[in-house]
Subunit: 198 residues, 2 copies
Amino acid sequence: MDRAVEDLTARARIRDAAVKLFGERGIEGASIRDIAAEAGVSSGLVRHHFGSKEALREACDKYAKERMLQIGAELTRDGDLTGLDPLVLHPLAFPLQLYLVRSMMDGSETATALFLEGVDAVEEWTTSFGIDPKDRRGYAAALAAIKLSVFVFREQVSKALGEDITTPAGYNRIGRALMEVFTIPLLTQEQIEKQEKR
Amino acid sequence: MDRAVEDLTARARIRDAAVKLFGERGIEGASIRDIAAEAGVSSGLVRHHFGSKEALREACDKYAKERMLQIGAELTRDGDLTGLDPLVLHPLAFPLQLYLVRSMMDGSETATALFLEGVDAVEEWTTSFGIDPKDRRGYAAALAAIKLSVFVFREQVSKALGEDITTPAGYNRIGRALMEVFTIPLLTQEQIEKQEKR
DNA sequence: CACTTGACTACACAGCTGTGTAGGAGTTTG
DNA sequence: CAAACTCCTACACAGCTGTGTAGTCAAGTG
């Protein structure tokens, strides 16, 4: 599955470099020249292959989404994932997820669509697992956001734990902590009712 | 508490405009001229008061953090908040939180420090409420990230719900859904043990 | 062979960027 | 009164930005 960098076509190298730099620095923060340098090509070639920065971004959106679904399907088929696992922190998905979150925050429709599909999946998952919240859709949306939260704040969470959560050890630790959030009843029924009166 | 815009000093107007535009567009995405125009002053005045863009950013970090703690303290004192409420979506805190999250993602130490203080607060809260997770620190960090997740993905969550979660109605809906996440045991003990073996 | 096509580079261009400088207007201070 | 200070604007500058254009080179294709 891993491909040597030098084996990729220039177009693929540019796309990978764009996903990486857009993800790390944001769309505005990564220039076409930066991306070209990262890919080891001239800036003109970026334009030749993708036309404009906006078109490059859309190509990255499309690729990241497809690749993400592909990785998710592979890992699920191989039994490496259950319904709620934070796929987002998987080494293969990491740069893609980084990009997608940034793109989502900048208002990408493709990335948002992927989020909505995730909500659908969680919703179906709750049904098949016999979980029956009052507001199933709201519940699924909250869960979908939660799955991404640890990823978005990975640096801050790592700092809080004194341990890098993108390493296997840290990843397992925060994974277990998330499990506990989902198993320990946090609020009493009374507190919830008080909340609902607002 | 609300202050008329025209009553603010130019310095405060610039700072507010910077928080707003940095939060909406990211640091790179908002230029000094944009901020000056938003505040209704010349771009030179921004420099006069803050020196450089980086210094302006740091001033915004400092202000947003202080103001956020202040708002949190006020609302807690008035009994509008309990320990776990998503203050992040409060109308007063909204632009500040938007800015802080962006700043955090761009590696701000001040914003990260605020997150860490939030983790500390949640950790103390679990103790005083008799919640006893195996990994208290990890549990608190996960909860702190979760509190912010709905905010970060507010647009996506709103789209999933077909309802703007920054309005009172939507805010209450997602709030209740979050409560359910914290009350319905999501995973069986067996599943968790399977998880831990990895 | 001549000709086209696609991958690729070099260079130019206008616009925006953060920053620097000079100076005006009004108030305070000696 | 004059000097000093603060708040504020206008303008200039170099560097980077996305984009546009011209042209090189190699691989087909008739």
